[in-house]
């Protein structure tokens, strides 16, 4: 029955969307044209995507970071380890995994930091770099499942980077006249060098730290949630 309803609904919906496709025009409206033409002159960033993410649409990015924070804290709240229930039994990591993870942990963290520090020059940025850092933490947790990330440190990293994002935005409001404005406070610097783009690299590094800390905290809480299988055994 469910399958039947599902198929009919999906078919109707698909035909509806199908009929909409010919109405789609070219995607490049005046906004993206403006960004391409003025992105460099406005912000001195080589990577135009970064200029749009952090500057032109910075407020939206702040919202996205907020959504990330909300979903991570939601998952943390739901999966939080309660006392009295056993956690999942860790299995020993194989020699391959252990050696590989230990060898790769530091390079991965450095690589992630590289990606978000160079977000305004190369294809990359805070979100991507933060994900790479979190993958390094994942390897650490895979090898040593008893290990806990320092909760205080993660909380501070998260809050301070989020606070820094809002603070730079407000500074832009005070100095440049609009939230996250890139005018006035910091010199834009020489194009295509590390110290260019005004506030953009600072904000993107903060975003990188925030994303990295949040995804790492998420991994930590998933690894140390109450073990489902053990709980079932306890019930039986």
């Amino acid at each position: 029955m469910k399958q039947l309803i599902g198929s009919v609904f999906v078919l109707v919906m698909g035909l509806f969307l199908w009929s909409l496709v010919p109405l789609l025009g070219p995607s490049a409206g005046y906004l993206s044209t403006y960004f391409t033409q003025h992105g460099v002159a406005d912000n001195h960033t080589a990577n135009l995507v970064t200029a749009v993410v952090v500057n032109y649409r910075g407020f939206d990015t702040l919202g996205e970071v907020l959504v990330l924070f909300a979903s991570v804290s939601g998952a943390t709240f739901v999966l939080r380890r309660r006392d009295g229930l056993p956690t999942a039994q860790p299995w020993p990591a194989s020699e391959f995994l252990a050696t590989g993870a230990r060898a790769l942990f530091a390079p991965l963290v450095v690589f992630g930091a590289y990606i978000f520090v160079h977000g305004h020059l190369t294809p990359g940025g805070g979100f991507q770099g933060g994900a790479v850092v979190a993958s390094a933490v994942l390897m650490l947790l895979l090898v040593n499942r008893d290990r806990h990330l320092p909760h205080g440190l993660m909380t501070w990293l998260e809050s301070l980077s989020g606070f820094g994002f809002v603070l730079t935005g407000l500074i832009g409001l005070a100095v440049g006249g609009s939230f996250l404005s890139n005018k006035g406070l910091m010199p834009l610097g020489e194009w295509n060098t590390l110290f260019s783009g005004g506030l953009i690299p600072i904000i993107y590094v903060l975003v990188g730290i925030k994303v990295g800390a949040e995804l790492s905290a998420l991994l930590d809480v998933m690894f140390h949630s109450t073990g489902d299988a053990d709980h079932q055994e306890g019930q039986a």
């Binding site: 496709v21 033409q37 460099v40 939601g74």
Partner: protein, 162 residues
């Protein structure tokens, strides 16, 4: 045929409908979540393929000394159609008194639409976190009910047999 030229949209629609079908027709919550994920991936593919401009490259500007010139002559340029994204060439041409929209100036590079990339950049990372939140909820449901099948949970709820 214009019909076939839009094949990326057909792929997106098919993927999206597969995801939607899984969400509706499957009982297992994990499978439902994966269907939702498939739906999300189709949206991401929709945006990314929409942002592709014919012959366009990634919107990352190459090593060039043009930027000083652009900054120096930063006059507003009338926006037009796709070929107007040749920002540098256009500025260059305008500087020399040309009025053509498509100039063969300095580096006639066409860039892909950056806006769609931006929208998906954050959506991907946020999608990971929201999926994790959903999976956490499923894990807790399984912990409480002993199952993650919708119909079984419904039965348990009806009989109050928990």
């Amino acid at each position: 045929m214009a019909f076939l030229g839009l094949w990326n949209y057909w792929v997106v629609i098919v993927l999206m409908m597969i995801g939607l079908y899984i969400v509706i027709a499957r009982d297992n919550f994990i499978k439902k979540l994966m269907g939702l994920n498939l739906f999300q991936v189709s949206v991401i593919m929709f945006y990314v393929s929409m942002g592709k401009v014919n012959g366009g490259t990634a919107p990352i500007l190459p090593e060039s000394d043009m930027v000083e010139e652009v900054a120096a002559h930063n006059q507003p340029v009338t926006a037009g159609h796709l070929s107007d994204t040749r920002a540098f060439a256009h500025h260059h041409e305008a500087h020399h008194g040309g009025h053509e929209v498509v100039a063969e100036g300095h580096e006639g590079i066409v860039y892909s639409n950056n806006l769609t990339h931006v929208l998906m950049l954050t959506a991907i990372v946020v999608g990971v976190a929201t999926t994790a939140a959903g999976l956490a909820l499923v894990a807790r449901i399984h912990e409480g009910y002993g199952t993650a099948e919708e119909d079984e949970i419904y039965k348990i709820d009806l009989t109050g047999a928990l």
